[in-house]
């Protein structure tokens, strides 16, 4: 069992400020705690409440003593928000060791019952933070109801950071990934190898995305697609052959990925993310690629980053044609959704009338269509392997850019490919005030009642 702490950029920045301070600094981190079906624990950081200056009794570069006024108020806030509280303190100095000292262990023993009691969660956690040339290093543990170490911090903002705990074993296969490592370095390669990536849609774009990710080093996949492979799919789906026609697409892709490299593990779900149980599996992913064409699915994916701090890269290809059936353009879109950037709804990337039509019963849809109250669902759309592959490669490059940060800032959160025009343009869109993507609406941990704030038909 292990725990990952997911943070937004501002919360991560707050920890870095603590870690790089020349004197020991304390704070209480409030977090929403969730245990997944496989036992993995995810903490969603909500707030970092600093110890007020007057609560420090001793505060030097190697020691810290505070009165209970330093954290009592924060515990009350945690209780009011239904969150757990973690005691955070820093070990100052570049490359200092963020491991609890004997004294720290005694403090943890004292704080554990108090924190559990005051937050009414019977849960305690601690985090010791330091830094290595400005990059956060840490160790941490949860104890109480759930006891496990915090093995990873995941940050989703402009940049995506996946940092293993100080003592965690890391390191990718240096020989295998020699060429990647020459490009991105060791750290990024181990980050990639440690990711769990969900791919929604195992068709042309999804399979091209998954193949590239596997060759880059991703070893853990969640593959979701309701369909079986058709004859015409083999013109685009990587890894598919005529012998695969009729098999579930997730199996065709899963088998293929597992053949590409040793140690690849695929969780295959033949189903739709319009089903709650299927959509919930996305919570466990570090990054989600949206590679479907449906609007109803996008409606749901669009909410994920803001409720669960999981970044989503949503992509699509459009080949509109004129009245004579001739191609009038080839467009690709890669939109990167993360806390701090606008969702698909605010960007106007979802056709809501079609989303409704896609979820209606066939009978009701027919009736409304006949009365002129509903748009007709589009038939089979054109699709071409070169275009789906181009968009997939652009999407995977976006992931690399977010991890490595080789691009310009501010980072565009959407790329539009005018393929017919041989042009690529980026744009940036901020969250709309009051919308679920607006950080001020604080959605994390608020959907115990209705998953992602929505009703689910099944």
């Amino acid at each position: 069992m292990s725990a990952t702490l997911r943070l937004t950029g501002p919360l991560h920045d707050g920890l870095v400020v603590m870690a790089t301070s020349p004197i020991e600094t304390g704070a209480v981190l409030l977090a929403h705690q969730l245990t997944l079906d496989d036992g993995t624990v995810i903490l969603f950081g909500d707030d970092l409440i600093a110890v007020p200056d007057d609560a420090y009794e001793i505060r030097t570069d190697r020691a810290l003593q505070i009165t209970s006024d330093g954290y009592i108020h924060a515990l009350k806030t945690a209780r009011d928000r239904g969150m757990i509280a973690l005691w955070v303190h820093s070990h100052p100095g570049d490359r200092a060791i963020p491991r609890p000292s004997t004294h720290d262990r005694r403090v943890n023993e004292q704080l554990e019952p108090l924190f559990g009691d005051r937050t009414e969660t019977e849960q305690y956690g601690y985090l010791v933070v330091s830094h290595d040339a400005g990059a956060l290093t840490f160790t941490g543990e949860l104890s109480g109801q759930v006891t496990t170490s915090i093995t990873r911090i995941a940050v989703s903002w402009q940049r995506w950071i996946f940092r293993p705990a100080y003592d965690a074993p890391t390191g990718a296969d240096r020989a295998l990934f020699d060429r990647n490592i020459r490009a991105f370095g060791d750290g990024i390669q181990s980050t990639i190898s440690g990711l769990t990536v969900a791919i929604v849609g195992a068709g042309g774009t999804g399979s091209a995305t998954a193949e590239q990710l596997t060759r880059l080093g991703v070893r853990s996949f969640i593959l979701i697609d309701p369909d079986t492979l058709s004859d015409s799919n083999t013109t685009r789906v990587y890894g598919s052959t005529p012998a695969d026609v009729g098999r579930p697409k997730v199996d065709v892709l899963g088998d293929y990925l597992e053949r590409i490299a040793h140690g690849v593990h695929t969780t295959r779900i033949q189903g739709s993310i319009l089903t709650e149980a299927v959509a919930r599996t996305l919570i466990g992913a570090d990054v989600v690629f949206g590679c479907t064409d449906d609007n109803a699915g996008r409606l749901r994916l669009s909410r994920l980053p803001y409720y669960y701090l999981t970044p989503v890269i949503d992509c699509g290809v459009q080949i509109p044609s004129d009245q004579d059936g001739l191609i009038s353009g080839v467009f690709g879109r890669v939109t990167t959704l993360h806390p701090g950037a606008a969702c698909l709804a605010c960007r106007d990337r979802i056709d809501f009338a079609l989303a409704e039509a896609e979820t209606r019963s066939a009978e009701e849809q027919q009736r409304l269509e006949k009365e002129g109250y509903a748009p007709a669902l589009p038939g089979v759309e054109p699709a071409v392997v070169t275009f789906t592959t181009l968009v997939a490669a652009t999407a995977v490059s976006e992931l690399l850019e977010r991890l490595v940060g080789y691009g310009d800032t501010p980072t565009p959160s959407e790329l539009i490919l005018y393929i017919h025009d041989r042009t690529l343009r980026g744009n940036i869109e901020d969250p709309h005030t009051g919308h679920y993507c607006d950080p001020a609406t604080r959605r994390i941990g608020t959907d115990a009642d209705m998953f992602l704030g929505l009703n689910w038909a099944s």
Partner: protein, 127 residues
């Protein structure tokens, strides 16, 4: 299926009695009971039915249904109310009112906004 909390809060706060029930079409039905009507219509209160899809509140409710079937006291037809539909085993007068897609702020608007539209439409039907 259930009504999102902001909607429950709004209905309670506004003193609107309501009932929520599922049907076999995957829609969530919300029935406003004894909803007061403006003067000028053939009844002073009515049951008003909203049917919410699984995409609500990203997408707005579409149309509403009323019992009893309403007419204008002063005569004249209320537009787009001539269709009768059966829901929950009862026969409802359908009010085909469709929002301009841009009129619904997806993810922000709620039943509070939709009840405002309902009131406006009932008012202009009565006038």
């Amino acid at each position: 299926m259930k009504l999102p909390e902001p909607d429950r809060e709004f209905l309670d706060r506004s003193g609107i009695t309501y009932r929520v029930f599922d049907d076999d079409t995957g829609m969530l039905n919300v029935e406003l009971i004894d909803f007061p009507l403006p003067p000028g219509l053939s009844a002073s209160t009515a049951s008003v039915l909203f049917r919410l899809s699984a995409s609500y509140p990203d997408t707005p409710p579409d149309m509403w249904w009323v019992i009893p079937h309403l007419t204008r006291i002063g005569g004249g037809v209320i537009p787009a109310t001539e269709i009768i539909e059966t829901h929950d085993g009862r026969s409802w007068q359908r009010w085909s009112r469709h929002l301009d897609p841009s009129a619904w702020r997806s993810g922000i608007d709620s039943l509070e906004s939709y009840v405002r539209l309902l009131r406006t439409e009932l008012g202009s039907a009565a006038a």
